[in-house]
């Protein structure tokens, strides 16, 4: 087990689900920055309020790829409102845990999903409570994020 990763992390890293792009997506969100070493981009296809397709592209380490893969798996086929409830903790649990130094990757995955949903709401004229997306546009900072978990 490399770097203390679980078998599930390695599985989602080596065989990531939902890699790619969606042409003319209904929502797209990108978080992170290359300086810190990870960027995640999530694409959504929505029909009747359901996420019928989700894709991602990620620049980052094994856990960044694995958390992107798992986050997209967890929300695919779900109503948009349910996907908004996705937490980084749920992503970590579904992956059977992450090393402490990699927890920020799960936070990034949660934020990528929320950012894509916000973009979907914004581009489709869907009203929402801005508090739902509090903190999303703040500068990505490993130090603070690591404390959240």
């Amino acid at each position: 087990m490399a770097m203390g990763y679980s078998d599930k992390v390695m599985d989602h890293f080596i065989n990531p689900r939902n890699v790619g792009e969606i042409e003319n997506p209904d929502g797209v969100g990108e978080v992170g920055n290359a300086k810190c070493g990870d960027i995640m981009k999530v694409y959504l296809r929505v029909e009747d309020g359901i996420l019928i397709d989700v894709k991602f592209k990620t620049f980052g380490c094994a856990s960044a790829i694995a958390t992107s893969s798992m986050a997209t798996e967890l929300i695919k086929g779900k109503p948009v409102a349910d996907a908004l409830e996705l937490t980084n903790r749920a992503v970590v649990e579904a992956l059977d845990g992450l090393p402490a130094v990699k927890m920020h990757c799960s936070v990034l995955a949660e934020e990528a999903v929320r950012s894509a949903i916000k973009n979907y709401y914004d581009t489709h004229g869907i009203a929402y409570n801005p508090a739902l997306f509090a903190g999303l546009d703040e500068e990505h900072d490993h130090g603070d994020l690591a404390e959240e978990v």
């Binding site: 070493g37 960027i39 592209k57 620049f59 380490c61 130090g143």
Partner: protein, 392 residues
């Protein structure tokens, strides 16, 4: 196929080294400090190992002090020079931005303790310390200059003899961390003209946990570990005789074959460099010529090093990376940053370090795997997508 290309981290012990160690477990197991026959047999063996190591560095046996490894040797050289300097009011230290942490961290600890520290920059991409920069940084109160002979990450070999000449003329002590160089390129302490030099056994197919500090005859050296008269009062603790004998045998073997081994490794290294240069947006780190025979270090734009490393591992290939994720910190390698690589590019680094065991077949296989993995990771990278969009 299993391919070990992380020889700068550590090497496989050689058969000669292993055999040289064997008598010291249950035959010659006395303490070299004991006066009885058991002890004297050990003491004689210790002396033979010291003579052998000295000979292979063009040093004299009294100039060799055994330590637990390269890190201890660096620490001892630095703290000794700093304390001796401070006694005479000299509290200025000079080092380079690409030193190993075994040099940088002691230097920073001394800075925290009241020393002034000058960290010399290096030339972009190649990593050379400019001799002129060193000349300009030297002061009357400089207690020590420490510049590594060859860099562990990017393999750059520094013009140490030019620097030591400057320092010797001004009577400023000079230490060089030669951990990556010894056994790989000719190291002649007289020609290098440094006052102290550190080396580590497991970097040249010797055992782990053993190293040595060369200290030029007449140059003062303080003990770092206290509590015994071993190593002529410079290093307390019963000598690790099996490891010392193993290191001596490994060094003898490495030096005997150095030209042949270096030619073999350089040829394979240059094939890897030429092959990896074929990759779009790849950057060689370090100087193409003045580099260790076994060192290859590249940055690939648009991908991250840990992912590359772990995918290579699934193909049986062991390398290393200077990305933040592999260092366990949030910062990419200080060496790559000092070479002028921006953070986002430094994250995508890969170091392959060869040994005399590396084969043509392994190099061909490794290149093919890297091409595939870099391509695969770039296809899923939003950073690569952006780089390509900006190009068009």
């Amino acid at each position: 196929m299993r391919v070990y290309l992380d020889n700068a981290a550590t090497t496989r012990i050689s058969e000669a080294a292993k055999q040289a160690m064997t008598p010291f477990w249950d035959e010659i197991y006395g303490n070299p400090s004991s006066l009885h026959t058991f002890g004297q047999a050990a003491s004689n063996a210790l002396q033979l190992a010291r003579e052998s190591i000295a000979k292979n560095l063009n040093a004299s046996p009294q100039e060799i002090y055994f330590t637990s490894g390269g890190s201890e040797a660096d620490n001892q050289a630095i703290f000794s020079a700093a304390r001796l300097g401070a006694k005479r009011g000299k509290k200025h230290l000079i080092t380079s931005a690409i030193e190993h942490h075994a040099v940088l961290h002691p230097m920073m600890a001394l800075r925290d303790g009241g020393f002034e520290l000058t960290i010399l920059p290096v030339q972009p991409e190649t990593g050379f310390v400019r001799v002129d920069d060193l000349a300009a940084a030297l002061r009357d109160d400089t207690a020590l200059v420490s510049i590594m002979l060859a860099n562990n990450e990017v393999g750059t070999i520094q013009p140490i003899a030019e620097m030591t000449a400057l320092c010797r003329a001004r009577k400023i002590p000079f230490h060089t961390d030669a951990v990556q160089a010894v056994g790989h390129i000719p190291v002649d302490v007289r020609a290098l003209n440094a006052d102290t030099l550190s080396l580590s056994g497991h970097k040249f197919h010797g055992p782990k946990g053993i190293g040595a500090l060369y200290c030029r005859k007449g140059h003062p050296l303080q003990a770092y570990l206290l509590g015994g008269a071993q190593e002529r009062n410079r290093r307390a603790g019963t000598e690790n005789l099996p490891a010392i004998a193993g290191m001596a045998a490994a060094l003898r073997e490495a030096v005997d074959d150095i030209a042949e081994t270096a030619a073999h490794m350089t040829s394979l290294r240059d094939q890897l460099i030429a092959g990896l240069r074929q990759i779009d947006r790849s950057h060689l780190n370090g100087d193409p010529m003045h580099r260790l025979p076994g060192n290859v270090n590249f940055c690939f734009e648009g991908i991250e090093g840990e992912a590359l490393l772990l995918l290579l591992d699934t193909k049986g290939i062991a390398g290393s990376s200077g990305s933040a994720c592999t260092s366990g910190s949030l910062e990419p390698s200080h060496v790559l940053l000092a070479l002028g690589r921006p953070h986002e590019i430094a994250h995508g680094s890969l170091r392959l370090s060869l040994s005399r065991h590396t084969t043509q077949e392994e190099v061909d296989y490794t290149l093919a795997q890297i091409y595939g993995i870099v391509d695969y990771l770039r296809k899923m990278s939003p950073v690569w997508e952006r780089i390509m969009a900006e190009k068009n």
